[in-house]
């Protein structure tokens, strides 16, 4: 659903000759609200309007274009809220709960991604759930793969941790195999660099 709306928006923008809203992400520390990551070079911040369903403060970066790869930073989602915004209130998005265990966070992202790609238009599976430290916070990483009815397959790596009872996630999703592999190492480093900024 969200991807399809994104396609429509991108086509409209392209036809209008106005695809100019991308800004270069500077190498080094970058923040999305209180979520900080250490960026490498070559990433571009997509205009907010291009990321349908994005929460306030979330950011989407890309190297080669949103259809090919994207890095999504979603800062602190409070207890009871969803990782995406559904104004129609019909998408049945799963909500984060502050007492979620790793398997539940994995399922939360998996179900959210089904909605992100379009319910009925995609199947999403997860694998390789593993522990990962994010600064001082204990969290998890896992891999995703998505099959879509009318697009290339996508692969991804997700980092997630809970801090101050809020969920922080960083998603790397890219067309499989070429574009996933192309920036996988760089994205992995960014995900592992994720921390919460407190009192600076």
């Amino acid at each position: 659903m969200f991807i399809r709306k994104l396609i429509s928006l991108a086509l409209v923008a392209t036809l209008a000759g106005c695809v100019t809203g991308y800004t270069l992400v500077q190498s080094g520390p970058n923040t999305a609200q209180d979520l900080r990551v250490n960026a490498g070079s070559g990433w571009n911040l997509a205009p907010a309007g291009f990321t349908m369903g994005a929460r306030r403060g979330a950011q989407t970066w890309t190297q080669d274009g949103l259809f090919l790869n994207r890095l999504v930073l979603i800062p602190g989602v409070p207890d009871g809220e969803t990782l995406l915004v559904d104004k129609s209130d019909s998408a049945a998005l799963p909500a984060f709960r502050k007492n979620m265990l790793p398997n539940e966070i994995e399922e939360l992202v998996e179900s959210t991604l089904v909605k992100y790609f379009g319910e009925g238009n995609a199947t999403v599976s997860t694998a390789n759930l593993r522990p990962q430290m994010f600064g001082g916070e204990r969290g998890v990483m896992f891999d995703i793969s998505a099959k879509l009815s009318d697009s290339p397959d996508y692969k991804g790596t997700i980092g997630a941790f809970i801090a101050d009872e809020k969920l922080y996630t960083v998603w790397y999703i890219a067309a499989d195999p070429h574009y996933y592999d192309k920036h996988s190492a760089a994205a992995d480093a960014i995900i592992k660099s994720a921390t919460v900024v407190r009192g600076e």
């Binding site: 399809r4 019909s90 049945a92 007492n99 398997n103 998996e110 998890v140 009815s149 009318d150």
Partner: protein, 386 residues
């Protein structure tokens, strides 16, 4: 006893615009088996569009290629279609929603959500018979011509191509939603569908039972979909159709058997593919619908170990008050059933962990790794075991 019911059925059908009580007696196929349209007319153009979409569908990552599942569906199609069997190419598409659709060329889509929702092969056959009737009554062509009367000649195909091009395959959804059948066409397909169903020696009562399932699930849904499946979108008057089909079938074929027994053929298909079918459903996060499906499967006799496991998944992810207890009991029942997915141990272990019942958590995590030593989340489980 049958006369009053027949009169009621006739009255119901007369109430539908363009459909008359005697229509079903005369209603038949408009084209012969092996039909191909003439060159250089609008129908040929329509076929070319559907052929292009079928080529895309063949490449879809969501196409289910499992031979047993495809053979099951194909056998039902052929039994209902009879002499028309070779006219249809059936594509089973991995989509947890309830739908089937038919293109002008005989390209048929069956979504896995339909397989998950029928209680018998007769109900599967009822949906397929309805779709076959759309084909042999040339409803796509009729719809296209009706649209062309409303629009300029070129615009129809421009819109058609635009819809298909924007979304690529668009799962034929773009075309199907563009060529939405009218109420009259749906009623025709219902009537001819019942006839085909009975001719193929399937239970004609399945024609309305399948609607009863749709209505029951819709009532159980906690969150209504903004964009329902095509089947729902083009079949808005479920209750009315269920009602007139029931009256018609009972008047013509008598009362149904008192007890509905799921056939072993369908149970075998469900048991063999249950994990992926239900995982897709669980991922929709639509627990009211999932609960309705599970209740039906439990009543049908789908492998209790599998049904109980997914009850556990549903309760655990729904997480309403009392759900943790229900989920733990469901996982235990799944394990006691003797055929649990390995994840039953893992997720039971996680629930014990949440309750700080560490010994039970360790025991179930250990069992999980014993049953599935290649588990991809071994590192996570070992973290907790340590």
């Amino acid at each position: 006893m049958r006369l009053p019911a027949a009169l009621v059925a006739a009255a119901c059908l007369i109430a539908l615009p363009g459909v008359h009580a005697d229509d079903d007696k005369e209603l038949g196929h408009l084209i012969p088996p092996g039909y191909v349209p003439e060159e250089a007319n609008d129908e040929k153009g329509l076929w070319l569009e559907f052929e292009e979409m079928e080529a895309q569908m063949n490449k879809s990552a969501l196409l289910v290629r499992d031979a047993a599942l495809n053979n099951y569906v194909q056998a039902v199609v052929c039994r209902v279609a009879g002499a028309y069997c070779d006219d249809f190419r059936v594509y089973v598409i991995r989509n947890p929603n309830f739908n089937a659709s038919m293109g002008a060329t005989g390209v048929m889509q069956i979504w896995t959500g339909l397989i998950l929702r029928v209680s018998s092969t007769d109900e599967m056959a009822a949906v397929i018979a309805h779709e076959i009737a759309h084909y042999t009554r040339l409803h796509s062509l009729e719809t296209l011509r009706a649209l062309r009367r409303k629009m300029s000649k070129g615009a129809v195909f421009d819109v058609f191509l635009g819809a298909a091009g924007l979304y690529g395959l668009g799962q034929m959804a773009a075309a199907a939603s563009f060529l939405t059948f009218s109420r009259e066409q749906e009623a025709e397909a219902d009537l001819l569908g019942v006839k085909l169903l009975a001719q193929a020696q399937y239970d004609p009562h399945a024609s309305y039972r399948v609607w009863q399932q749709v209505i029951a699930e819709e009532e159980a849904a906690a969150v209504k979909r903004e964009e329902p499946g095509i089947f729902a979108k083009t079949h808005p008057e479920s209750e009315q159709r269920m009602g007139y089909l029931r009256t018609l079938v009972e008047s013509r074929y008598g009362q149904p058997d008192a007890e509905l027994v799921a056939d072993q053929e369908l149970l075998d298909v469900l048991n063999a593919h249950y994990v992926f079918l239900m995982e897709d459903q669980i991922d929709t996060n639509r627990f009211g619908r999932t609960n309705a499906i599970l209740e039906r499967h439990a009543a049908m006799g789908v492998d209790p170990s599998l049904v109980r496991y997914f009850y556990g998944e549903m309760f655990r992810q729904r997480n309403e008050p009392g759900d943790t207890d229900l989920a733990m009991a469901s996982y235990r029942h799944s394990i006691e059933g003797g055929n649990p997915p390995a994840a039953a141990y893992k997720n039971l272990g996680y629930l014990h962990l949440k309750r700080a019942e560490m010994d039970s958590a360790r025991e179930n995590f250990g069992k999980y790794l014993e049953v599935d030593p290649e588990a991809s989340d071994r590192a996570m489980i070992e973290f907790y075991l340590e």
